[in-house]
Amino acid sequence: MGRFTKPGQYLLLLAYLIFLGFPLLWLISAAFKSSAELNSLRVNLIPTDWHLANFPEALAKQGLVRSGLNSTIVAVTTTILVIVVSIPAAYALARFKGKLRTLGVGWILTSQVFPVILIIIPLFIILKNLNLVDSLLGLILVYTTYTMPFALWMLQGYVAAIPKDLEEAGAMDGASRFKVLREIVFPLLMPGIVATAMFAFVSSWNEFFFALVLIQTPDNYTLPITLKMFVGGEGKVALGPLAAGAVMAAIPSLVFFGFMQRKLTGGLLAGAVKG
């Protein structure tokens, strides 16, 4: 594009940066403001008086620590389960062609547009019969099921990138399939496993809908539910601590996401479009 349009392009880019970045900066700044300052009609991103008390206040009052712990248990266990179950399946998906692969890929793509609203009602009844409603274990099983399709998709891409010759060479030397998997495929797959694990962690850490329906007592709340309940009592609730709690809840996701940001580009669609 010509020389004349350059300033225009930068202006437009600036508009995007403000639209994308300002809300985020405002949330962070609100986390450090006193309620007096928050209620003054002024747009100052840098607090005039740094009100650090919001953070301990958020942690003390709202059961945030308890639900943070629940969220950690759920997200970590889900991640481990997803990875353990996905590695062999992803390997099969990438290496064995035929009907199995068509079925698997078809399922993965369908699951991206799954009608959760139709599923949540019977799922609730099923979990109730299994005594898994209002339990972290129930939530973990549900998250594992619904995180797996995309995790499988990511992992099978990494498996497909490992040259088949390497495995065949191993098999030639008389190693069993399991040994080939463990000693040749697994180490090469490590970066893919790390990226997939981060994805699984972030998905279950952020999840709201299933937790809202399936978890009922405050002792079992995950962070998103606690924050939602925090919002519910508006008017009475102090906004500074609410913002502080929200910032703290977003940190793990943002940190993990920073690491895997490069690996996700392209993502599901790149594969879906190429068919």
Binding site: F19, A89, L118, I119, V142, L152, F209, P224
Partner: protein, 308 residues
């Protein structure tokens, strides 16, 4: 491969079939641990949900549910609140999807141009995607508050000072649509950017030599080669937006006066607050079938265009 050709054909066939058989057995063994949870918590509930739509099941204790054939659907036809929510859902998903595409395309073109700050913008553009929806909702509630920064800016330009954006009948739906765009833009941008980078530079250079300006090159070269990607991302975005729940639920709970009552919220409340499971399942089924029909029609028209 080469040594099989030397061998007599009979042994080859025998060998490949046994290999195929062991391979299939191995494949099944590898896939079973992943299949079990999917069958129990995904396929079974899906089938069950369809069945539930034809019953009068409730969440109340000690009440047996009965098969009621099409009663739920007959009732649904006359349920004006459901159809109003359906209409809001359409306004929401179409607006958000179109705006995501337009805004995402703009940003993708900028990121594809030779500008500074590209890396930074790219990371920033992905942040909304990573954040928990609940945190995003809280963040925008702070922006839209009566004493929030949006009113400060609006009043600085001479507008009214105390609009409660999320509680006002006229502004609530547009306000949540903006948030929907904010959240969904990254995915769209990154996908379109990947598509733009696949367009061969030679095409642009050749067109430039022939005197085509940037605008013409965009419409005549970039857009046609992006069409399959645009079709895929808009249909996915539409379905995701139609199925969206947490964001709007935390911001407005469907209010004020049902102005932001997306069909997902309506169905959730019907199932778990009013406890009418069967009736809510029927709603869910109607929504799913509607999305399926719409999508197949859209994709069919896209593929037909490709064949021309």
């Amino acid at each position: 491969m080469t040594d099989t050709a030397v061998r007599p054909p009979v042994t080859t066939r025998k060998k490949t079939t046994t290999i195929a058989r062991t391979e299939r057995r191995e494949a099944i063994a590898l896939v079973i641990p992943a299949t079990l949870p999917i069958l129990i918590f995904s396929v079974f509930p899906l089938i069950n949900g369809i069945v539930l739509a034809f019953t009068d099941a409730t969440l109340r204790r000690n009440v047996e549910s009965n098969f009621v054939a099409f009663d739920n659907f007959a009732r649904l036809v006359g349920d004006t609140m459901f159809w109003e929510s359906f209409r809001i859902g359409l306004v929401w998903s179409i607006s958000v999807t179109v705006l995501q595409l337009v805004a995402g395309m703009g940003l993708a073109l900028l990121l594809n141009a030779d500008l500074r700050l590209k890396g930074f913008t790219r990371v920033l553009a992905l942040v909304p995607w990573a954040m928990p929806p609940v945190v995003v909702a809280i963040m925008w509630k702070l922006i839209y508050r009566q004493t929030g920064p949006l009113n400060a800016i609006v009043s600085a330009f001479g507008g009214p000072t105390n609009t409660d954006w999320l509680a006002n009948f006229d502004t609530a739906l547009p306000a949540v649509i903006v948030v929907g765009v904010w959240v969904g833009m990254p995915q769209t941008t990154i996908t379109l950017l990947a598509g733009l980078q696949q367009v061969p530079m030679e095409l642009h250079e050749a067109a430039q030599v022939d005197g085509a300006n940037a605008w013409n090159r965009f419409w005549k070269i970039s857009i046609p080669s992006l069409r399959p990607i645009v079709a895929a991302i808009t249909s996915l975005n539409f379905i995701w937006n139609f199925n969206s729940f947490g964001l709007v639920y935390v911001m407005t709970e469907g209010g004020p006066g049902g102005r932001t009552m997306l069909p997902m919220l309506f169905t959730y409340l019907e199932a778990f607050k009013s406890k009418h499971l069967g009736y809510a399942a029927a709603m869910g089924l109607v929504l799913v079938v509607f999305v399926l029909i719409l999508m197949s029609f859209y994709l069919w028209s896209q593929f037909r265009k490709d064949k021309d």
